[in-house]
Amino acid sequence: MEPWLAMAHKHQTAIIMLTTKWLACLSTVHRVGTWATTPPSPLGTRTPRLLTTPPPPMHPALQAATQPYTQAHQPYQQPPGGPGPAQLSPSLAAMSLQSNTPESLRVVNLLQERNLLPPSPTPPPTPCLPQDLQKINCNPEVFRSTLTSIPQTQSLLNKAKMPLGLMLHPFKDLSQLPVVTSSTIVRCRSCRTYINPFVSFLDQRRWKCNLCHRVNDVPEEFMYNPVSRSYGEPHKRPEVQNATIEFIAPSEYMLRPPQPAAYLFVLDVSHNAVETGYLNVFCQSMLENINALPGDSRTKVGFITFDSTIHFYNLQEGLSQPQMLIVSDIEDIFLPTPDSLLVNLNECKELVQDLLKSLPTLFQKTMETQSALGSALQAAFKLLSPTGGRMTIFQTQLPNLGVGALQSREDPNQRASAKDIQHLSPATDFYKKLALDCSGQQVSVDLFLLSSQYCDLASLGCISRYSAGTVYYYPSYHHQRNPALVECFQKDLKRYLTRKIGFEAVMRIRCTKGLSIHTFHGNFFVRSTDLLSLPNVNPDAGFAVQMSIEENLDDLQVVSFQAALLYTSSKGERRIRVHTLCLPVVNSLSDIFAGADVQAISGLLACMAVDRSATASLSDARDAMTNAAIDSLTSYRQSVLTIQQPGLLAPACLRLFPLFILALLKQKAFRTGTSTRLDDRVFAMLQLKYQPLVYSLLMIHPALYRVDDLTDEGALNINERTIPQPRVLQLSVEKLSREAAFLMDAGTVMYLWIGRNCHPNFLSQVLGVPSYAAVPDNLYLLPELDTAESQRTRAFIGWLRDQRPFFPPMHVIREESQLKSTFMQNMIEDRTESALSYYEFLLHLQQQISK
């Protein structure tokens, strides 16, 4: 951690030095006169710090309380009765921003400062809370707010012109998760909030809920602390010491006995599907991972294949081989046998393995071209509805037979339309209705789309969106023509089959009285105003919510949010995972800006724009995003900025905001003027809503690194491997150079770009080829050579890949490669024939702001 901090400090001073020297890069005429002589921002003589630290302490009594939690300090004196917001000194409000501008409010002139990107990914901003509260606050990777200081009134929030919302990743794989088995789960009597670290204990026997302010009694069993074996200290119990905790739920939390894990696989076996070769990969993967499927002795598994008829497989224990039953009446589908289609995995394992071995060969000679997906889904639903569970669909073409048949709506000539994009909403509500039925029976549907033609993902995707499923998309999947995608599919399938899963789940998000949640984003069904129905919950799903302030939060110092996820684990245990986040309340506009989290704001705006492009139109959504940037910067300029300077001024915490907005406008989901397939666009929109924030940010603004000169300077040492940490570069062709090689990490895919005059050392030692011309065209794997450069490069790429649950395929690109245009489309700061460059966008914003 330390060398990385040092490097960041070094670059901070360098940025400030460069401010007045940046002249040559600009080619357009500036009507704003004096930017060359504008004095650098008033930092004074303080040492530059990371952008995310809270303001320096003002009140001597709070001196220790507000240090950033990365530094050592002496503990805040806790009065007896435990920590709690009631103990906060009233000077919490007084300490904000008197004479010293905190780092996050440092004025940045975006037109002048060129190198705004931090050298490595910024951590989320820390809320401005006292040390003891912040120490136990929820992990920002799990629960994050767009504004880390909540405005006191709705009018103040409206003046700030920034969206208020939360980004959640509740079922994230956590390395440390305290689990509590308790006979009583202590909850508030009126609002049913779980007890959390931010409640206040009035005395040893009563506690005050931090969400509805009701005073509750501490039950007798709670007074005893099993961890420290002491009595009479309820505030030391793990429920009150951890913001993220899991309870084992007693039987009152079950509507029915916990269901067994039930997995049903619905496979497309038309000619097209067999052509792509996915069936081999699937069967192989299932055979390898069959023992790693989450579940216990009751796990059930079943298979259905379909083309123009539906095929069921009788896997009853006792049969010598699996028996295929074909149902051709697709208009009125029925199950041929009442049971033994969904069988217990442990008892019938050999039969299942036999089936998996024989499936690819069974359909090798098929000539069927039609696909009756709707009927297959209905049959699968009938099969799974008694227990609930997970349905996985593999589809390779447009369903064109039976119920739910779809038309090809895409007009290839409209792909590059500069105006509105049509057909972003579903054509039929068959899939939506089926998804709601599935949701009612606790069945979740995941869709793997491996097609090369238009498949109307806008309609098909509804089956996963409302049943809390996932959509995976592999455009133009083919086992021979696209080996990079094959590897990606294999790794994704392995993760999909073996990752943790929760069944028949519901999630409720509660907030302090005065705040209310009005819109939800993600894959689920909203069953009531704050209850989300999630038939399956998986560790890769992210959610976002938007909030509004119904009543003024006048006498509150802090507000809390609690997300409680009640689910059945794959072992049949009913559990509740509770996350609680606490944030301060402020009443001045400058404090709100100081606490703005630009990454969360961009993520939430992306979700809102996806909704807007479905309800209104795509151009509406694009305008709304630009206006969000204009409005917030205008509000900053008018209300917070004391000295009016020329130029486009932004606070340091929002300096990347226009860059992210431009990146969104150029993102596949929202771009116009560049040819984008409709399915690709719809999939990008689905991903923006579904993925947790950190991955969707990589999708929006990829990270570019120079990799031909990796050094061990500033490298991380993890598990005895040295992982170099190159600097993040700006996404501009200016930063590319013919003599180097660059790695672009776009979240779901990676590109390794080799310059024409790249040093032959790099080519031979990392790629194993003697010269540039010898670099193969479709290379997607780095050879494992014994050289130091190869090890460093592979360590770095492996480290990037390890940080995310899905597997991003890597493409090695030369200048003549077909993928070069895709790579160049990610160069956000450059001008294209249909979009502005970053500098032009800034000028456009400035023009709109000064109107």
């Binding site: 054509a427 509500d429 939506k432 819109t519 909203v526 069953r527 009531s528 105003t529």
Partner: protein, 144 residues
């Protein structure tokens, strides 16, 4: 007191407006039940959606009746609502069955608030038009 066609129209309108008031009250109660988590959106939409087209058709029937009876003032008062109904039905979400309410979007706070306001406004309009038709009927009966 002559019993003209216009008087008959007003009488029929009076009776049917009672039905429309009932629909408006049903809508208000339904959305309130949704807001207070009393009912499931899927069930609630399944009860509300079949009522939408009958309400719109009854109101259309009024407009036709008043057109035939040459009651231009009454017709002009009803035409804005008719235009609103047409717009509302044209911009409904994609649905195979008749109706306006989609269970997946109805729980969004802005849509829910809009529907509640719509319910109250319609109730006020139908109540006012009930009394207007009553007055109109007596006027027509008396003044001919």
């Amino acid at each position: 007191m002559a019993f003209t066609f216009a008087a008959f129209c007003y009488m029929l309108a009076l009776l049917l407006t009672a039905a429309l008031i009932f629909f408006a009250i049903w809508h208000i109660i339904a959305f309130d039940e949704l807001k207070t988590d009393y009912k499931n959106p899927i069930d609630q939409c399944n009860t509300l959606n079949p009522l939408v087209l009958p309400e719109y058709l009854i109101h259309f029937f009024f407009c036709v009746m008043f057109f035939c009876a040459a009651e231009w003032l009454t017709l002009s008062l009803n035409l804005p609502l008719f235009a609103y109904h047409v717009w509302r039905y044209m911009s409904r979400p994609v649905m195979s069955s008749p109706g306006l309410y989609d269970p997946t979007t109805i729980m969004n706070a802005d849509i829910l608030a809009f529907c509640q306001k719509e319910g109250w406004c319609k109730l006020a309009f139908y109540l006012l038009s009930f009394f207007y038709y009553l007055y109109g009927m007596i006027y027509v009966l008396v003044s001919s």
